[in-house]
Amino acid sequence: MPLPSYALGVVEASVYAPEVLARGLPASQLSGGQPEDRGVSAEPIVASAPLLSLQGIGLSFGGVVALADIDLSVRQGEIRAIIGPNGAGKSSLINVISGVYRPDRGRIGLHGASYAQVPTQRLAHLGVARTFQNLALFKGLSVLDNVAAGLAYKVRSNFAGQVLGIGRSREERRDSLNRADQILDFLDLAAVRDRLAGTLPYGLQKRVELARALVAEPRLLLLDEPMAGMTASEKTEMASFVRAARDRFATTVVLIEHDVGVVMGLSDRIAVLDYGRKIADATPDEVRNDPRVIDAYLGVASDNEDGAGI
């Protein structure tokens, strides 16, 4: 797959893919979320209540503390990154938010409702979608069907109606294929539409996973290392897709990422975890200069920086 031209040299100035923005769908066509299109404003949007709020989340696995007393508040429309060294508890946090883990302590607030454990089976109905750190595509389905599966929670026809092709089943199928096709166009995946998902290269599979999460137009999108294992240009491309998706669907994004450079350019705010604790939660610039963050990532600066005498 040839690299799109916009994938190069747009790291700092703009992470938007011009093609994505130009070719993007009218918001009304993919309605469901908030209709307003906030354009390319990099300023965080101030909304009244947080979309997602974690209060005093604690989680441990048999004595190993994965998360300790985590508070997190994510506003509507924000791109919030969660970073931290390996084993800091980032994935555990995403799993708590998506209900895969039940925290030992604390509550999770999702647009108004409060949960001790988020009901995973109802997650899609709550407007939450996620991707996984390790690819979690349905390898035996085509790319199109993988993406259409993201709308499975809406299906109301039963199997008998589907087998006989009666009732609303045809209409549902047509509708979900249409929407899946729109998302595939949006994420530049139309060329691989009919291929089995398992046969795609890694970077494309990651993007298909994003498409599957986006097709439901979630209010909250959780991305667990969406750029892990990608080349620098693929990362830039993915970052532009994430940002374009936020702008197009007014989706709030919570993402975990190792690559601090990409995160700085992409997120509105960054929370930093270390050993299961939140050690910082601020704008990219503030985080960049936070001594505790630097310590966590690079170790405490030595007095003997030049290494003289070693």
Binding site: F138, K139, L141, D145, A149, G150, K154, Q162, V163, R195
Partner: protein, 346 residues
């Protein structure tokens, strides 16, 4: 995308329904006229019954990813249920007993599918053994099921649909063929429907399926129910059309394994694969016995035949798992593509 092989885009131009329709036309129009009684009794009837059972198991194991070793139990449940409905409800048409028998098998399938909500893989396979042993035990223990026959053997009723007697070999063949064709068509529709795609999603990644809102528990139980329904009806064909007299011991664990081998050899997650596998399983012992008798003469008695069958079958399964994990269907498709490609390039 340069990676898409060119041969896919220039693949066959015929619509997909042509081959099955031609095959059915042949099966209905030509086979009854030219087939011998041996062909029907020894090859086609067991082939149809086992093929349909393979379709049923493939829905559960190939598509929904739930391994089951209880297939023979559901065949037995179907056979004995149809026998009892036919015996005890006056005026119930044969088709009625068959549908009810399928529903009984489906209900039993749901019950023994409940462990799948917590268990996976080998653990689930072992728990489905419970179905295998329980059903066989119940049918032997309670003689009511076999109408108090001393040996537990049941005799099939006369086969007739709408006054049309189907007792001869050809009649039973047409009876089985019709049921198998209808159910296979419905199964094909099912696996390409939303429900079928949900099966595949749960097979490929259960956590992701749950997260995107596929009702995992309901879908798994539905897979057990539909699969058991089809296998139950296959059991009716086995008992009523093929053997005519069956006993619970005919539906033992060996039969369950046989059906599992059918879908592994034929191709998992493929409706056609079940029939490829069934054809091999049915024809293979006959071919082996002819071949053995021809090569070795009297030394090749039934004991040797049985043993060599197991050895060769076991070796075949291992070979298939290693060389062609996608089964005969994948092999067939590849050969067909090569031939088409060769034909097009000449």
């Amino acid at each position: 995308m340069a990676a898409i092989p060119a041969e896919f885009s220039s693949a066959p131009v015929l619509p997909k329904w042509v081959a099955p329709v031609l095959l059915l036309a042949f099966a209905y129009g030509v086979v009854p006229l030219v087939g011998s009684s041996y062909l029907f009794e020894a090859i086609l009837l067991p082939f149809l019954a086992l093929g349909l059972a393979g379709v049923g198991l493939n829905i559960l194991t190939g598509y929904a990813g739930q391994v089951s070793l209880g297939s023979a139990a559901f065949m037995a449940a179907g056979a004995f249920a149809a026998y009892n409905f036919n015996l005890r409800i006056d005026g119930l048409p044969l088709i009625g007993s068959i549908v009810l028998a399928g529903l009984v098998a489906a209900a039993i399938g749901i019950v023994f599918g409940l462990p799948s909500l917590r268990l996976r893989g080998f653990y689930l396979a072992v728990s489905t053994l419970a179905a295998q042993f329980f059903v066989q035990w119940a049918l032997t223990k309670f003689s009511w099921f076999s109408n108090n026959s001393a040996s537990g053997v049941i005799d099939a009723p006369r086969l007739s649909i709408g006054g049309l007697a189907l007792d001869g070999a050809v009649g039973r063949y047409l009876f089985a063929l019709t049921i198998v064709a209808v159910l296979t068509f419905l199964a094909h529709r099912l696996v390409s429907s939303q429900t079928g795609r949900n099966f595949i999603a749960i097979r490929d990644n259960e956590t992701a399926a749950r997260i995107i809102g596929i009702p995992v528990l309901k879908t798994k139980l539905l897979a057990f129910a539909i699969s058991s329904f089809i296998i139950g009806v296959a059991g009716v064909i086995w008992a009523f059309a093929y053997l005519r007299t069956v006993e619970p011991d005919g539906f033992d664990l060996d039969r369950s394994f046989q059906i599992l081998f059918i879908i592994i050899i034929g191709g998992l997650a493929s409706i056609r694969g079940a029939f490829f596998g069934a054809a091999l399983i049915v024809v293979f012992p006959l071919a082996l016995s002819r071949l053995g008798g021809f090569l070795l003469g009297d030394v090749f008695d039934s004991g040797v035949l049985d043993m060599s069958q197991r050895i060769v079958l076991g070796a075949l399964i291992i070979l298939f798992l290693i060389l062609e994990p996608d089964g005969l269907v994948a092999l067939w498709d590849r050969i067909r593509r090569r031939l088409l490609f060769a034909w097009q390039s000449t």
